[in-house]
Symmetry: C2
Subunit: 272 residues, 2 copies
């Protein structure tokens, strides 16, 4: 996932999100270090997922699942889950399965959001993607990827059953909510809820207190709001960036509750 | 659900499944009693689901979810979950949430299987259904209904966390498997795995032994195979019915392990 997945940093907040990334020469050392942190998390998640979904016989079965799992652009929600676990003092491996499950939810959402729907009930997607498979396979494989994420969690043994069930509730609410607003939402918002969910899941698995879980969840919600805002076109770019800065400040305020050292790395997702 | 949901009885096995049901006059008393048993289970599941998914504001959100949950024809997999729980000596209420979750999986499968896919990648469904909503809402609401089923389970408190996680694994495997075979299956088989899963979940929640769980699961798989066979058209109806009878005998053989009194009612799903 390295390279595909850039955390939001101050540079991204000041520039338009579609601007080219700053060159290595102009990038301040602190950002380089932060990128390594997020990249190392993504690498661990990808390794876990590739073990969980090998390409094996029958290839006609596993190839679509493998492809549709890894084809979507990466979501920061998965990495935030791991970072959140570490921020409350947990071990990375405690959150890898949940982070992988969140990626699988994202993969289903992305696949189904880009499914060709021709009855006029969906605004045409601005993002044109290559469809390697027909709609039937994309629909049904997406339906298989989502429960596979829950299976990974339900089969995991690193955390207590109670924690795993809490995490499942967080994820089902985030993913379910997307379906629930389908009726009144005329624009597709992939991952609308996944960042708050990811942060909460990581904090739960890392053994965070209720207060820590809630604060990291709100932090994740701001991350998501900022990402959503920056990905949208706006007639008033100045006002947009002002709002992003406001949310960024509110996001960082949630982290003030924590020991500064513990949350230093997680805070870089909104720029420091 | 009463009336919509007829268990397979000997009459159904002997007749073509599309033949009219026998009149009350010719139906033997034993079948009437069995129907009451299955109907009472279905009624309890429906009551639970209606409480879980009320129609409330915003109606634009809850109406599609409510409609798409209750519109599909009922599956016997949910009722089998409850019957299986009772067969191993468990209480009905222990299995109602899992049975409801299985119904929600079935509702997503049914909704997505009947989604209009126009790129030629799916054989046209023989069953024409009324689409109250556009494909976009059907797709996304289906995606919301499935995780809602897992949420109900993960939030339930009647059974131990370990049992709930086992049940989630059973369900994810049944539902996920359907996605996994999407690539090589050119015919849609709703609920292909749900009956074996339902029977296993009920046995787990009812406190059954590993042996009881496995036997009831195999019983459920036969129930599904028989239902699938009877719903398909065949050029050789005689051979079809012979095969159904063979599977029925194998299904009943799985029940021989149990105390006859305990499994009397569950066996009526394949006719006694």
């Amino acid at each position: 996932m390295a390279g595909l997945h850039l955390p939001l940093c101050r540079t991204n907040l000041i520039r338009s999100s579609s601007s080219p990334a700053p060159s290595a020469y102009t990038r301040p050392p602190v950002v380089t270090r932060n990128l390594s942190y997020w990249d190392s998390i993504n690498s661990d998640i990808e390794t876990h997922l590739k073990k969980a979904i090998p390409i094996r016989d029958p290839v006609t079965v596993y190839e679509p699942m493998h492809y549709l799992t890894f084809a979507p652009p990466k979501t920061t929600a998965s990495a935030l889950c791991v970072a959140s676990c570490e921020a409350v003092g947990g071990n990375r491996e405690d959150a890898i399965v949940a982070a992988s499950a969140i990626h699988l939810m994202h993969a289903t959402i992305y696949t189904h959001d880009h499914l060709v729907v021709t009855d006029g009930s969906r605004p045409e997607s601005e993002t044109k993607i290559t469809h390697r498979f027909g709609s039937n396979v994309e629909l049904l494989t997406g339906d298989g990827i989502m429960p596979f994420g829950f299976e990974l969690l339900a089969r995991s043994t690193g955390s207590s059953s109670e924690k795993i069930l809490k995490v499942i509730v967080e994820i089902t609410r985030a993913v379910g909510a997307r379906g629930m607003v389908a009726g009144e939402d005329d624009v597709i918002h992939p991952d609308r809820q996944l960042h708050g969910c990811g942060a909460a899941c990581g904090a739960i698995l890392g053994g965070g207190s209720e207060e820590e879980i809630e604060r990291l969840k709100r932090f994740g919600v701001y991350v998501e709001k900022i990402q959503g805002l920056l990905s949208e076109k706006s007639k008033d770019e100045g006002a947009k960036m002002e709002l992003a800065e406001k949310w960024r400040a509110l996001a960082l305020k949630e982290l003030e509750y924590f020991d500064r050292k513990k949350v230093e790395q997680i805070s870089t997702i909104v720029g420091v």
